[in-house]
């Protein structure tokens, strides 16, 4: 079972993601801030992180940069309420980008795609 970390400052969104992604068969852990996310990451291994770009007074992009630097083996999908961040060069560091929507199909597809890609990479490295 893949373990996912969901970082979003909105409690209801964290709840929604947890419900929906658990239904998809993932083990989901949530965090409300960058600090909480880093603390959670230290507690164990994660297969993928889903980050909101705007975290109250913090920037999800900064957290992304930190994760890419320190946890480069863990893919990250950015979630945002606004599509303009797609054009932000820093956002290109992420493995995926999804605009927030009540229909989570796109997010679920993106998670599946990124995890499959990671598995393929690990398989190739093992060979």
């Amino acid at each position: 079972m893949s373990r996912l970390l969901v970082v979003d400052d909105e409690a209801n969104i964290r709840l929604l993601y947890s419900e929906e992604l658990q239904d998809e068969g993932y083990d989901v852990v949530t965090a409300a801030s960058s600090a909480e996310a880093i603390e959670t990451l230290q507690s164990g291994a994660f297969d993928l992180a889903v980050l909101d770009i705007k975290l109250k007074n913090e920037s999800g992009i900064e957290l992304l940069q930190k994760l890419v630097k320190e946890r480069h083996d863990m893919p990250v999908i950015l979630c945002s309420a606004f599509s303009c961040y797609k054009d932000d060069f820093s956002a290109w560091l992420a493995d995926g980008y999804v605009v927030k929507s009540g229909d989570l199909t796109e997010l679920k597809q993106e998670i599946a795609r990124v995890l499959a890609k990671k598995a393929q990479k690990l398989k190739a490295e093992a060979k």
Partner: protein
């Protein structure tokens, strides 16, 4: 003594003096004037003088001496008058030339005048002249322009034309600049190409002459120890004049002149006249070159000023964009998140509630309404994005293929087939790629609401006048032109037609970029969208 001459008569007839011709009738009545002007050369007078000598008249030898001295002085005076006439002509010519050279800042005009003056019969009368200019950046003396005939036949033709047209020097030069400058440059292209000498080659006769700042008359060029044989062969003359052009102690270039057709000897006088002429020419060439450089610099400064202004405008726009961005970001965050939560949970509940549940329909309505609201939010955000387009040159094929790729899943799921044949010869178009992609996607998405049986969309691109015309033809949608026009009005009620704000926003976005967007509905043949994409920057409004 019988006298043959009329020297002792006050008044004579025209037939009495063989030296007086028609037009000189005033001499017939003026004995003194006639004696001074005509008797010294008159054979009848000389016969009378000889007869006096034969008669041992003591005045005869004295008269003979007087006459000889008178004739010598007369010749001297005539020679001086001729010299003065020539000098007057030369000064007049140099004055005329100086006026043109001083007033012109056009390099081609200066060079045309200079070379015409050297080669024209009314000027220095040389057969041919080459002008070489110093290229300081490349450190070379380089052939720039040649003037004159290449052979006897051409010489006869050109010189006859000049004699017949009887043009003054200024007109000749103007005529040359307007009609013959390019052809003359092409005519001597082979020689001019080879007339290139590195300025560092201090032993070369041309560089040596340039450094010496004095003209050199080369005679016996083919055997001359200082003349490279290839230079002598190239010019094909045994004698030529190398005239350095020096302005304010700076080396400007050189004129090489010769008489390749008439083979007339180049005299020291020719050389001195040309030397006098070379100073204003050098000065005029340098001034024209500096003016050219000044012009280039001015253009550069103007361009830099223009860019600076554009940058300033861009900064203002960026500030506006940042403001719009902040507002829209704030709206996005504060509206989208609640919408997402409502829609997300509604979907979650819908999944878990059986169709028989009485609340199932209510939840379905919530899902549908939130989806609709999310769509409206996307369109508003796209519209705010469109307020400040970022344009650049893009490949039309890439634009269409990207839009087709992005919409492929949706179009296929609705049973649509798309057709596009890329044309690799199309020029790049000046557009905001993101906005145009968005518009194309919107048009394609708009089409899938069609109800016809022929579910195909064909896209074609065609090169137009400074534009590329993109046509999207959808044969599945059958609506009237009035209904289609309604779709193109922002915020009109279009929900029942299934298109939302999309097409209206596309039209607004494109019009903001000065790109015409035409939608034509044919009741039974579907819809045709025509987008005219500019290929030039200035076409933008």
């Amino acid at each position: 003594m019988d006298r043959e001459c009329c020297w002792d008569r006050e008044v004579i007839e025209l037939a009495d003096c063989p030296e007086i011709g028609t037009g000189e009738e005033d001499l017939l009545v003026s004995k003194r004037q006639r004696t001074l002007e005509k008797c010294g050369d008159c054979p009848l007078f000389l016969n009378d003088l000889a007869r006096l000598r034969d008669e041992n008249n003591p005045l005869a030898p004295i008269m003979t001496d007087f006459l000889a001295d008178f004739r010598r002085q007369k010749t001297q005076i005539q020679s001086l008058v001729s010299f003065l006439d020539n000098k007057t002509l030369e000064i007049r010519f140099l004055h005329e030339l100086g006026q043109v050279l001083q007033s012109s800042v056009d390099l081609d005009e200066v060079l045309s005048v200079a070379l015409t003056a050297i080669t024209s019969g009314k000027g220095f009368g040389m057969n041919r002249a080459f002008l070489l200019l110093c290229d300081r950046e490349d450190g070379i003396l380089k052939g720039y322009l040649g003037l004159g005939p290449r052979n006897q036949e051409e010489a006869s033709q050109v010189w006859n034309e000049i004699i017949q047209s009887d043009m003054d020097l200024q007109t000749l030069a103007k005529n040359f600049r307007l009609n013959k400058l390019s052809s003359e440059r092409a005519k001597f292209h082979d020689i001019l190409e080879l007339l290139t000498v590195p300025l560092s080659n201090k032993d070369h006769i041309l560089v040596k002459t340039l450094d010496g700042k004095r003209p050199v008359l080369v005679e016996g060029a083919f055997q001359h120890p200082d003349v490279p044989p290839e230079l002598a062969r190239l010019l094909g003359v045994d004698s030529f004049l190398a005239m350095p052009l020096i302005s304010r102690n700076r080396r400007v270039g050189m004129i090489i002149a010769d008489n390749c057709i008439t083979r007339r000897t180049i005299t020291d006088e020719d050389m001195h006249s040309l030397e006098t002429f070379s100073f204003p020419v050098a000065f005029a060439i340098e001034r024209a070159s500096l003016y050219d450089k000044l012009h280039v610099e001015l253009e550069r400064v103007t361009e830099a000023g223009k860019k600076l202004k554009e940058q300033q405008e861009l900064i203002v726009r960026m500030e506006n964009m940042a403001l719009v961005g902040r507002i829209t970001s704030s709206i996005a965050h504060s509206v989208r998140n609640p919408l997402m939560i409502i829609g997300g949970f509604a979907r979650s509940m819908l999944k878990k509630s059986p169709a028989s549940d009485s609340k199932h329909t209510f939840i379905e309505s919530i899902v549908a309404e939130t989806r609709q609201l999310e769509g409206v939010l996307d369109e508003i955000l796209n519209y705010s994005d469109s307020l400040y387009p970022t344009r650049d040159f893009w490949d039309v094929n890439q634009l269409v293929e990207t839009a087709l790729h992005d919409t492929a899943d949706v179009l296929t799921s609705h049973g649509y087939a798309t057709f596009y044949s890329p044309d690799n010869n199309l020029p790049h178009v000046y557009i905001d790629f993101k906005q145009l992609s968005n518009c194309l996607r919107t048009v394609l998405h708009n089409d899938i609401t069609g109800i016809g049986t022929d579910r195909s969309i064909s896209i074609s691109s065609q090169c137009g006048n400074d534009c590329v015309i993109l046509r999207i033809e959808d044969s599945s949608r059958h609506i009237s032109q009035a209904e289609l026009d309604h779709l193109l009005v922002p915020f009109s009620e279009t929900h029942e037609l299934g298109a939302g704000l999309g097409l209206a926003l596309c039209k607004t976005m494109l019009e903001k970029q000065g790109i015409p967007f035409v939608a034509q509905a044919e009741q039974f043949n579907g819809i045709r969208y025509t987008i005219t994409l500019p290929t030039r920057k200035e076409e933008q409004s």
